[in-house]
């Protein structure tokens, strides 16, 4: 095979692999979140519109909840296991979330936001 042809093939292979990696990067946004009395870490979660999101929650102490009414997602977060939520944000904006399992004196303040960017 002439070297010129091989070079062209390698070029297109490189371009193809770059695209595949880019698609893989945008195929899923995985965010790990810890919950403990009375905070989430991180408490601001930034994701891109239209790209699937995987939220993986772990409780560091007791039963908590995660409810984001604006995106219609919620889960219990029990200690000792990972709670996973999958969704695809369809609209840009800022969406508050809160703990919806009563967890103590600071329960009302256990909140955060999901920021969906264009």
């Amino acid at each position: 095979m002439p070297i010129a042809v091989l070079a062209v093939l390698l070029f297109f292979l490189g371009v193809f692999l770059t695209e595949v990696c880019a698609i893989a990067d945008e195929a899923e946004q995985v965010v790990t979140v810890t919950a403990k009395r009375y905070e989430y870490n991180p408490n601001t979660i930034t994701v891109k519109k239209g790209i699937p999101v995987v939220l993986e929650f772990t409780s560091l102490d007791r039963l908590h909840g995660f409810s984001c009414p604006g995106l219609a997602i919620r889960t219990d977060i029990a200690p000792g296991k990972v709670a996973t939520l999958r969704f695809v944000p369809q609209k840009a904006g800022t969406f508050p979330f809160h703990c919806d399992n009563f967890c103590g004196s600071g329960h009302e303040g256990m909140t955060g936001t999901i920021v969906v960017t264009e």
Binding site: R37, S67, P69, H98, D100, N101, F102, S105, E108
Partner: protein, 322 residues
Amino acid sequence: MAAEAQAAWGMEDKQSRIMERNANMKINRRDFLKLAGYGSAIFLSGFAGSGRWAEAADGDGFLFVQLSDTHWGFTGPAINPDSAGTLKKAIAAVNDLAMQPDFIMFTGDLTHTTDDDKERRKRLTEVKGITGALKVKTLRYMPGEHDASLDEGAAFKEVFGPTHYAFDHKGVHFIVIDNVSDPTGSIGDAQLQWLAADLSKQDKNARIVVFTHRPLFDLAPDWDWHTRDGSKALELLMSYANVIVFYGHIHQENYRVTGHIAHHAAQGLMYPLPAPYSVPKKMPVPWDPAQPYKGLGFRSVDAKVSQAMYGLTEYGVKGEKR
């Protein structure tokens, strides 16, 4: 309440205005007439005409009082500078009622939450002592999430007994449903089975009064003003013609109907909360020095058993009729 939570629960005049508007949303006579079409009807004091049914010579009526959300242990001068005295004033007002009720029902959040189990027991025990000053000695209690969600009702049971139960009084079947001991705000399958078994013993036309802490229906789920499996309880109750629900949790009067079942929320005795979804974030309505104890109080319920009708009278903390 933690200092940071007090700070977060700031003051907004707008909230006061909303509360005022909410408090003014009384049921008018036309609403009452519409309500009369339901199985169990209610009326507000002022147009019963011939006086209290509880005073009727035929023994067909009786009176009970609902107190709710006393949040004993709460401190926050900007929210309630008389946090240690409000409950005691309400007790004095109940003791001064011209006609004493047959019993008094406390619909939860007797105490303000604390992460300290020992302190929780102390507060619950103090409430039991303070409410012992009521002239009426038939007192019935149920927990709110502040009393029971952190220990699944353990401390409450030690001080007051079961968190769910039923009793009969002068022809009315009363059911106390616990939707707080489970921190998810659920009744749970076991209690729902108990409810089904209890209801199965009742005639379809039985007079049934239900007490809960949280609303059984979705009043404002984003504000935690709902019961996650409340629809299952309502489904069980729906086949009974005369059911009425009294609850607490939301610290304000509120009236809704689901199917033929009327739901009445009570004022609290520590701090009012804003009307559902009237503000971006749920926070206590700050104390108004010009109108102290505004939005706080209790109610009496005048039951007319034969007609399955209930007359509601709302009182302020010092016993003034609203």
